[in-house]
């Protein structure tokens, strides 16, 4: 097993790029810091310079002014070819070599680095397993693979020499939406394991929000509009451009970033099976949720207590209305909202990992949260926004 290279931070120090013959710079005084092991997405409209910004890291585009540091070392002091062998590189068209088999493609950088055969063969096996490709595919040529498989091999090839930094230029841009979603999820799972520092270029804000630990939004002329976590970006766009780029539905997008546990839940009066209805009725006065939730002795939700149920002596084992949908604290908020809307219920019990009741979620809680969140977040959004100068 390869001794993994420590992921390294990438920091842009006042970087400017001017292409010869152009008056306007393509990138203007870009400064940002990508902490080791995080995914930084560079996003923006076409012509904003996001690809240029990424390519200066491996010097496939040369820096005009300023510097980029990998860890503590300036890329300008490195031999370009050697520097590139230490960085995984994935491009939109994948760029697998058509004349080489899957195995030979993956072996590209290890061979440039002069690894011996056994080490390379072992590494190819490891990587095929990591990307979930059948070992029989080793000897296939790229033309015999599907688009998704090619993209996976492209990622494996970039990871071959276990580089501390990965550069990904619209890696899933040419893939159909369904396969793209799967590849994105696969990559996030992979990243949780390998913890590389990733620079990821896309023009798709949804992809940026999904993939990024941090997002750098660039606008025309290579200016950094905002550099923040996805949640900060959605809650507190720095200016009109960012607000516009993020989209009018940014409130909904935020729900995709949240889990049910991130919100203050309401509490419903609990009605234990067999309990006297009189006691329950007393609890209903002035409760946040005007209905009582029937639970078993383990506090697991069974259903909602109806008026007819209340007319009985004790809380029944089978209340008239069921508890569905039951949500989990770890559910993504967007999915929770979808469940609520789909079952046409106002309230849904939320349970913890053991199935015990933790609170109640309602459409009302979500809409209240969406209407006035700004004040709450502004304070901790401001902490990590390096654009403010």
């Amino acid at each position: 097993m390869e001794a993994g290279h420590q992921a390294a931070s990438v920091s842009y120090r006042d970087v400017t790029k001017r292409y010869p013959g152009q008056t306007e710079p393509a990138i203007r005084n870009l400064s940002l810091e990508v902490p080791a092991g995080e995914i930084c997405v560079l996003v923006g409209p076409s012509g904003c310079g996001k690809t240029t910004a990424m390519r200066m890291v491996n010097r496939t585009v040369e820096i005009t002014e300023g510097d980029i540091l990998i860890g503590q070392t300036s890329v300008r002091e490195r031999d370009p070819a050697e520097l590139r062998r230490e960085m995984g590189y994935v491009i939109q068209q994948v760029g697998l070599f058509p004349h080489r088999t899957v195995a030979d493609n993956i072996a590209t950088v290890p061979r440039l680095l002069g690894w011996d055969r056994d080490r390379i063969a072992a590494r190819i096996g490891e990587l095929l397993e990591l990307i979930g490709l059948d070992p029989d595919m080793r000897d296939r040529f790229p033309s015999q693979l599907s688009g998704g498989q090619q993209q996976r091999v492209g990622v494996a090839r970039a990871l071959a020499a276990d580089p501390p930094v990965m550069l990904m230029d619209e890696p899933f841009g040419a893939i159909d939406p369904i396969a793209r979603e799967r590849l994105q999820n696969e990559f996030l799972r992979l990243q949780a394991e390998i913890r590389k520092t990733v620079l990821f270029v896309t023009h798709d804000i949804d992809e940026a929000i999904k993939m990024g630990d941090r997002i750098a939004i660039l606008k025309a002329g290579g200016r950094l509009a905002q550099y923040a976590t996805p949640a900060e970006l959605l809650m507190a766009p720095a200016d009109d451009f960012v607000e516009d780029f993020v989209g009018a539905d940014r409130a909904l997008k935020r729900l995709a970033l949240m889990r049910v546990r991130d919100i203050d839940l309401w509490q419903a009066p609990l009605a234990f099976v067999g309990q006297a209805t009189g006691e329950v009725r007393a609890k209903l006065d002035g409760a946040e949720v005007p209905h009582a939730l029937v639970v078993d002795s383990e506090r697991r939700p069974i259903g909602w207590l109806s008026e007819t149920d209340l007319a009985r002596e004790t809380v029944p084992q089978r209340p008239d209305s069921g508890p569905q949908p039951i949500l989990d604290l770890d559910d993504v908020m967007r999915d929770a909202l979808a469940d609520l809307l789909q079952t046409e219920t106002q309230y849904a019990p939320v349970t913890d990992g053991d199935g015990r009741i933790a609170g109640v979620l309602s459409v009302e809680i979500i809409s209240e949260f969406l209407v006035s969140p700004e004040a709450k977040v502004e304070e901790h959004a401001a902490v990590e926004r390096p654009t403010a100068e």
Binding site: T60, A81, R84, I91, Q93, F97, P98, V109
Partner: protein, 261 residues
């Protein structure tokens, strides 16, 4: 040219006498399209011309390839050289072959050298253009990926660009080889022998023309087939099936054949 023909006149006369002396009144005397008996009896006389022809073609195409390859590499990173090289090889290509031989005679004298220089010059245009086109057609993303992974210019050239240009390079070699086989029949006028010698010695003897011409055609076909096989072996990635599967398929076909028989 007149000088050359005059030189063959005694030879022509000699052969006719020789034929008459044997008294083959039938096929040869009637100059039928093809006389098998005569062909079998006299095949020896074609061995030397055939070998000479082979040497002319192989040496000329090999040298042509080396020169064109060097030119293509030179102009690969210096694009401005491409029109110059294309123009220069184009001019060489337009010189009529006989004129070329006679132009070279005062410099290199009669013989194989003269013929090979001219034949080599003819191959340059086709081979050079195909190498340049092959390199130009390498997918941009392959080049970008190679560079982005830390290949030097030289590594990119030898590991990515040339292998991907191979199909077009070999296509150029096929055309160049076949046309060289044909043009080499004129090498006799430079005094370099080859299959042109028997042809021009007995232009009016049909069996002779069929044999000498047939050998030239056969040589062209064999070279062409060899190059096709070479391409299959060197560029197995071109088909959709993996090379191993294709081999398996071929073996299966071979194994089935005797059963069918």
């Amino acid at each position: 040219m007149t000088a050359a023909v005059a030189q063959f006149a005694p030879l022509l006369a000699q052969t006719e006498i020789h034929n008459r002396a044997e008294g083959e009144a039938s096929c040869v005397a009637q100059n039928k399209a093809f006389c098998l008996d005569w062909a079998l009896d006299n095949f020896d006389r074609y061995t030397t011309p055939l070998l000479e022809h082979l040497v002319l073609v192989v040496v000329s195409v090999a040298m042509g390839f080396l020169v064109a390859f060097a030119m293509a590499l030179l102009s690969h990173r210096r694009r401005w050289l491409v029109p110059t090289f294309t123009g220069a090889t184009g001019v060489l290509y337009t010189i009529p072959s006989l004129a070329f031989f006679f132009l070279l005679l005062p410099v290199t004298g009669r013989g194989t050298d003269t013929a090979i220089i001219a034949l080599t010059a003819y191959t340059l245009q086709i081979i050079y253009r195909n190498i340049v086109a092959g390199l130009a057609n390498v997918p941009v993303e392959s080049r970008e990926a190679g560079r982005g992974m830390g290949m030097t210019h030289r590594q990119l050239l030898w590991r990515v660009e040339l292998p991907l240009a191979l199909p077009e390079i070999i296509a150029g070699l096929r055309v160049a080889t076949v046309s060289t086989v044909a043009i080499a029949t004129l090498a006799v006028f430079a005094g370099a022998g080859g299959l042109g010698e028997p042809i021009y010695q007995q232009l009016d003897f049909k069996t002779n023309i069929v044999i000498a011409g047939g050998l030239a055609i056969l040589m062209a076909i064999v070279f062409d087939a060899l190059l096709v096989v070479a391409l299959r072996l060197l560029a197995p990635w071109r088909g959709r099936e993996p090379a191993s599967a294709r081999r398996r398929h071929r073996l299966a076909t071979l194994r089935r054949a005797p059963e069918a028989a």
